[in-house]
Amino acid sequence: MTAARRTTVAASLVLVLSMVASTVLLRRIDQKRIHPNTDANEDMLFFDSPKMVKRASLGFDSLMACIYWTRTVQYFGTRHHNQATSYNQLAPLLEITTALDPQLVPAYQFGASFLAPAPPNGAGEPERAVRLMQYGIEHNPDNWQLYYNLGFVYYTELHDYRKASEAFARGAEVPNAHPFMKVMAAQMAEHAGEYSTARMLWTATYETNREKDIRDNALEHLRSIKVDEDVSNLQDAVTRFQERTGRLPANMQELAAAEHLPAVPVDPDGNPYVMSPEGRVLVENPESFLFITQGLPPGYKPSGRLRFHSK
């Protein structure tokens, strides 16, 4: 072996060994270091002024908006995964993102669905979600989906059916708006609190979105609406049975027979609904339905862990 060759081999070996050694050492050092409060770090925003970030972007606002939007998604995703109860930086991050690029439509659509729902599903800031959507509509008046999202927040989180109806009606006037916007406006005005309206909204969300997480969320809501409606109907049937016979039905089979149902009704998972000794209709596995408000056992507390049922 020549001297040059020996040097090459030796240098290559030292290079590889040093790389491995430094990586191993760094991992050991990381384990020994006292980690600062990561939750507090996650909740820190060094530059919270949209104007300042815009100035610093050197004219590349649009790219900076994409970076801030990615940061927003990561912030929300991480805190949501950790079941955080506060999302203090979510609204500022969205405001910076949309100030940098007011045409970044996904930031409004998904941002509102991050901001509006109550924790742990969202930041519980529906008013800021409304402001975000209004800012988005101001800068993208021809995008009917933003009116849809605004109406959606009014309907699901603020329960302001009049404003929801107005938002859908305004969106229906946008050229090329989906025909369901008109139906939604009318439905909202007349049948706001009914399950059919909620089902229509979530079905529209499912059908008009390509993003998997949003579609899974819509599907989950549709499953929960089905359960809520079933339990509500069955509870009415229990009341009718009691009024007719003066007693509670002994079980679901007796109730089904009295209502001339072919079998005991089942939830979307295929499990039959059950009845408590007090005559309350319950779901067998409440953990499987993330958004139900009916059929929950007394004192039931959800684990809070979201597990979506994908189609």
């Binding site: 100035r55 050197l58 004219g59 590349f60 606002d61 649009s62 790219l63 994409c66 939007w69 990615t70 998604v73 990561q74 690029d101 045409q103 970044l104 996904p106 659509q109 998904f110 390509r210 993003e211 997480d213």
Partner: protein
């Protein structure tokens, strides 16, 4: 005359290639492929936007850095190596030397931008699976970026004709930053009064206006760029480049090279 300028330009181009300037394409390709592959996993619904925004921003910034760092050495390096005296001892006029150097560097940047453009469209095809008619706007943005390079090359040459490489780099880069805020400068000028307003407005119009040449955000959102803007930006860039080059020629013609 044109032959002499052509020789100087082609030599400048060859020298840039020999200096491995085009190696930046490797970094660009790695950056863009990494983004195209990973952005879908770390963000939501902005794959196309990121590829166009990041691709065009990288084309712009890589090019600006090349234009400045090669442009500032075009004259000083020739003086330092004493090759300038060999060139000027032949029937080559000083202005021909400056124009040839400018065209050589501009050619290098056009070739660099051409390959980067292929990368941008390749990454776009990867994330969007197809092209749409609106994607033609990316070509307009690339054209504006090339216009931006012409201005920066000319400015780098201008500074290089009378200053040291370090100071030339500082001046050129400062002008790039100031030019990116040209619209804001005019806004500030409008807030002043009297003589100060004249000075501020004059300064705002003297610095290159790079914000007018930046349509990256618009084409990323597939918004059309008007033909009028293309024409006016072209004329503006050509006039500004001619202005800076004339300044470089004027200074270089009077420079004592002994």
């Amino acid at each position: 005359m044109s032959n002499r300028i052509g020789y100087i330009a082609s030599n400048t181009f060859r020298e840039a290639v020999r200096d491995r300037v085009l190696y930046n394409l490797i970094a660009f390709a790695l950056l863009l492929s990494g983004v195209a592959i990973f952005v879908g996993q770390i963000s939501i619904d902005i794959e196309r936007l990121v590829v166009v925004n990041l691709g065009l921003t990288a084309v712009s910034l890589f090019g600006v850095v090349i234009a400045i760092f090669i442009g500032i050495g075009l004259v000083s390096k020739e003086i330092e190596k004493r090759t300038l005296y060999t060139v000027l001892s032949r029937p080559v006029r000083r202005w021909e030397f400056i124009v040839g150097k400018f065209l050589g560097l501009a050619g290098t940047l056009v070739v660099n931008t051409f390959f980067m453009a292929i990368g941008v469209f390749g990454a776009l095809l990867y994330v969007a699976r197809t092209f749409s008619a609106a994607d033609a706007g990316i070509l307009v943005a690339l054209y504006f970026i090339v216009l931006e390079f012409l201005i920066i090359c000319a400015l780098a040459l201008l500074f290089s004709s009378f200053s040291s490489p370090l100071l030339s780099a500082v001046f050129a880069f400062s002008l790039f930053v100031i030019g990116s805020y040209a619209d804001d400068l005019r806004g500030f000028a409008a807030l002043t009064h009297g003589f100060a307003r004249w000075i501020a407005t004059g300064a705002a119009y003297l610095v290159p206006n790079f914000s007018a040449l930046n349509v990256i955000g618009a084409v990323a959102h597939q918004r059309p760029v008007g033909g009028q803007l293309i024409l006016e930006n072209t004329l503006y860039a050509l006039f500004y480049t001619a202005m800076a080059l004339s300044g470089a020629v004027l200074i270089f013609e009077r420079r004592n090279l002994k």
